[in-house]
């Protein structure tokens, strides 16, 4: 992707985001008491200012992108195997979602072990045995430190509880 295209896309994105903030997000999700004496003191004032500034920044980005000529070299280099890369990206997103679901249920240590193995697989580790050993040892060491030295209540889950 060329630098000019990125700038244009970001500019349009910023304008859309600003419009969404001004028309939907701020009126819906920011509440203000009815007895505020002056708009400057209202909790709405700062989000409005920021939404306005975002729109101005987006507009400036669109204008500068239009004035920029198309360069020969793309700014973002593409990779060979795009569908697989997207698959890996979706997988790491799924790993994060699953980790959030599992953490309170099976405990942080066991979840961390699974996250370690999955991430090592996704980054195609060239040291699978080391990764497997580390996947077990590192969460246990971190648990020992945080739970027994720092006194943090690490989630234990409903099944196997650690001492």
């Amino acid at each position: 992707m060329h630098d000019r295209t990125i700038q244009l896309q970001l500019g349009i994105g910023a304008i859309i985001a600003a419009a969404f903030l001004l028309l939907v997000a701020i009126p819906t999700w920011v509440s203000s008491p009815s007895n505020v004496p002056n708009i400057i003191l209202s909790p709405l004032f700062w989000p409005w200012v920021l939404a306005g500034l975002t729109a101005i920044t987006g507009l400036a980005m669109v204008l500068t992108s239009i004035r920029e000529p198309r360069p020969a070299e793309p700014a973002i280099s593409e990779i060979d195997d795009k569908p697989r890369a997207w698959g890996r990206l979706a997988s790491i997103a799924a790993v994060m979602v699953v980790a959030m679901v599992l953490m309170p249920r099976i405990g942080m240590v066991w979840t961390a072990m699974l996250v370690f193995v999955a991430t090592a697989y996704l980054v195609r580790t060239s040291h699978p045995k080391t990764a497997l050993v580390s996947a077990v040892v590192i969460p246990l060491v971190l648990y020992a430190f945080f739970a027994h030295v720092a006194g943090v209540a690490i989630p234990q889950g409903d099944f196997v509880r650690l001492p």
């Binding site: 896309q9 920011v30 989000p47 500034l53 920044t57 973002i76 942080m108 991430t119 943090v152 989630p155």
Partner: protein, 504 residues
């Protein structure tokens, strides 16, 4: 009691094996804690506090000060080696430290970080001794209008860390400012973007945002293209910085140290804004301006000088006025009280010997920091030799534990993951992350001080120009904005001239 008597009494309190041991252990614990992402210096000081109950007052306080100083430096080690700032204060160190590590010069970057840290620490301690009373009384004059103008000026440093595009830097800052509005409104207590979730009422956790923005995108980037990292083992390179390089960066180190001293003496600002301001000033004045952000040793030196310059100076309001300058000094003030000491002007009269003992101990701590830091660098350099396929999953697991430990909150882990994707998007679309972080830190301070000033004046903007301090910061802001616009116009002209020459 004369100055000399107090000094001698102070010396006698420090010149013993217990005090030196406490300082040494404190610095070592601090460096190790700072080097573990998520284990901030604050957490380390808080965890060490119970161990001081059984110690003599001066020994216990020196132990805590050692942890504090070690923790601030320790944060730079993972910032340089694995792009994960160990403490928020070392966020600016990532900008040039990590690119240097990628070039195989991690040892050089760590060496410079240590030299700059020790120099700044020494300057900060000397400033504490020389200017305690004066600087603290200056900071006491700050009200909301003065803080607002100071924050506004501090936001101009975004231009210095925006990299190749000021507009993308501005967009990043807007995103940071917007996310900082999440939570309960501090004046009226109404909801802002909380979606009815109690977890969001206190706002987004800073550590979760910080780690999500700086560490997770690297992991996602490696998942996207593992081949890009093949054979990219980051060698330590030259394991020590040369004296000529230290001399070249000396001006930036001294300037950064003084920025740290001034900002550190003002309660509530902390080390992170100081590091970014020092970095930005070094970039603005450096002949190697273009190299900043790509692995410039001077950038590492300036950032580390900025954050370590704060360490001694935050004790100025603490000792002279009894006001904690930041969270860590708030914990340290607890240690004073446990031992029956009340920091403040009267302490200089009643317990002058302890004050001077602390001053001497602080000077000694800079020396300890140098030696313990050297050992720590050589110990942690092995992180650079770990295969990436093992290192990155380890970092992910460490981040999960570290972020959870801050507030015992799984929700914060989720915030970290979400911010990781925001950071990855920014990385892919070449939007600089540093302006986001600065805006996220300064945004709430800017808004709160603005609204407090308006409340004070009955919504009259005249209060923002009420005295010499506000005028001083307005002038500085105007000069900086003018300089940014001028530099932007020059860069555009140069860019166009280059393009025309290429087309011809």
């Amino acid at each position: 009691m004369s100055f000399l008597d107090s000094l001698m009494l102070g010396l006698s309190m420090v010149a013993n094996i217990e005090s030196f041991l406490a300082l040494g252990i404190g610095v070592a614990v601090g460096v190790i804690a700072g080097a573990i992402p998520g284990m901030s210096a604050t957490m380390a000081v808080a965890l060490t506090l119970p161990f001081t109950f059984a110690l003599q007052p001066i020994t216990g306080i020196l132990l805590l000060l050692g942890v504090y100083k070690g923790g601030i430096f320790g944060g730079s080690i993972p910032a340089i080696l694995i792009k994960t700032p160990g403490t928020p204060a070392s966020s600016a160190t990532v900008l040039d430290g990590y690119p240097l590590a990628e070039k195989g010069q991690a040892g050089k970057a760590l060496g410079m970080a240590l030299w700059a840290s020790c120099t700044a620490d020494l300057i900060s301690n000397l400033a504490l001794i020389l200017f305690a009373g004066f600087l603290a009384s200056f900071a006491l004059n700050f009200g909301p209008p003065e803080f607002f103008t100071l924050m506004l000026f501090s936001l101009t440093i975004i231009a210095g860390v925006s990299g190749e595009s000021l507009l993308r830097g501005a967009l990043s800052a807007m995103l940071g400012l917007l996310l900082a509005t999440v939570g309960l409104d501090l004046i009226y207590g109404t909801n802002r973007f909380t979606f009815g979730d109690a977890n969001l009422m206190g706002g987004l956790n800073f550590i979760a945002v910080l780690i999500g923005l700086f560490a997770i995108p690297e992991i996602i980037a490696m998942v996207w293209n593992p081949k890009a990292f093949d054979g990219q083992k980051r060698a330590m390179g030259k394991s020590w910085v040369e004296f000529s390089e230290y001399r070249r960066c000396f001006k930036s180190i001294v300037r950064g140290s003084f920025i740290g001293v001034i900002l550190g003496a003002i309660p509530g600002i902390g080390a992170a804004p100081s590091a970014f301001l020092s970095y930005s000033e070094a970039r603005r004045t450096s002949p190697n301006k273009a190299n900043f952000g790509k692995g410039e040793l001077e950038g590492v030196a300036a950032a580390e000088a900025g954050n370590n310059g704060v360490a001694g100076a935050t004790l100025i309001p603490l000792l002279a006025l009894g006001i904690p300058g930041d969270v860590i000094t708030a914990i340290i003030i607890g240690a004073f009280m446990i031992h029956g000491l009340q920091p403040g002007p009267m302490m200089f009269v009643i317990n002058a010997d302890i004050i001077y003992a602390l001053f001497i101990g602080l000077i000694v701590s800079s020396v300890f920091l140098f030696f313990v830091g050297s050992v720590a660098i050589h110990g942690f350099k092995y992180v650079a030799d770990i295969p990436r396929g093992v290192l990155f999953p380890s970092v992910l697991v460490l981040c999960i534990f570290g972020v959870f430990a801050v507030n015992n909150s799984i929700f914060d882990v989720g915030v970290m993951f979400a911010m990781g994707w925001v950071g990855y998007f920014m990385l892919r679309y070449r939007i600089p992350a540093a302006p986001f972080l600065i805006a996220f830190i300064l945004g709430p301070l800017l808004e709160d001080n603005f609204r407090q000033a308006m409340l004070m004046s009955g919504s009259s903007p005249a209060i923002l120009f009420r005295g010499p301090i506000t005028w001083f910061f307005w002038t500085l802001t105007a000069i900086t904005v003018f300089a940014i616009i001028r530099a932007g116009i020059r860069a555009t002209r140069q860019h166009r001239a280059l393009r025309t020459a290429n087309q011809a």
